[in-house]
Amino acid sequence: MGHGSIQRELRIEATPDVVFDVVSSPEHIADWWSADTRIEATTGSTGELVWTDAETGRRDVARIEVADAQPPRLFSFRWTHDADGPLHASNSMLVTFELTPDGDCTVLRMTETGFRERGWDEAKVEAEYADHVNGWDFFLPRLPVYAAKVGANR
């Protein structure tokens, strides 16, 4: 996995049907993402994610487009704050939920790639072609240290 993406995996004590509904339905997105939306869990569905600050009433709006919906095993969407026109790899982030049954449970794997610029994708391509270079090997081990420093200063 490239460093321009985030990947998480967790085991949930619920069936894939239930988990799919939670990650994809507006009713539950309102809960886990605090966002109002009217998207449908079907490929190509488009809409908005709206966060409203309860105190100030200020609204924060992002666009969302369902990239692939295959209940109950896959749900992916693109989202962004600042693009006009179609959403694609260079202007939005791609979030993918993969659901794998495991007995009565579901293994949920989430990846997010994009970070609103192509640099990270290019970095991945570069990494594949230039295996003699390991700049990130130096940079990455320092990240937690820097992050901790910043956290301590907040």
Binding site: R8, D31, A62, L108, G119, E126, F139, L143, A147
Partner: protein
Amino acid sequence: MSVMVDDDLWSAVGDPTRRRMLDQLLQDGVGTPTSLSEHLPVTRQAVTKHLVVLDRVGLVHGTSAGRERQFRVDQAQLARAVAQLADVGATWDSRLQRIKRLAETIQSEKDNT
């Protein structure tokens, strides 16, 4: 809540050559376009262009010393870039914990009816 990421900062650090320049500067403490180009498969002119991008977002600072400008990493700004990356990860962790709790609550309600 969504996490806002500083696009210019991310674009600056998103380029592989620029990241390797940052690595080199962190390792050596200080560098010039000439010294950096010796470690990279790009020309001194290309390094200079990348330094301009890094300088614009405050990741490096140049000082005039002798014939060539010397560049150092701005640790505070680098920490800021890193913190944004960490924030994105932490935010997903809390979202996923909410997804897990919701799904498990729904499942146990189903099982008990």
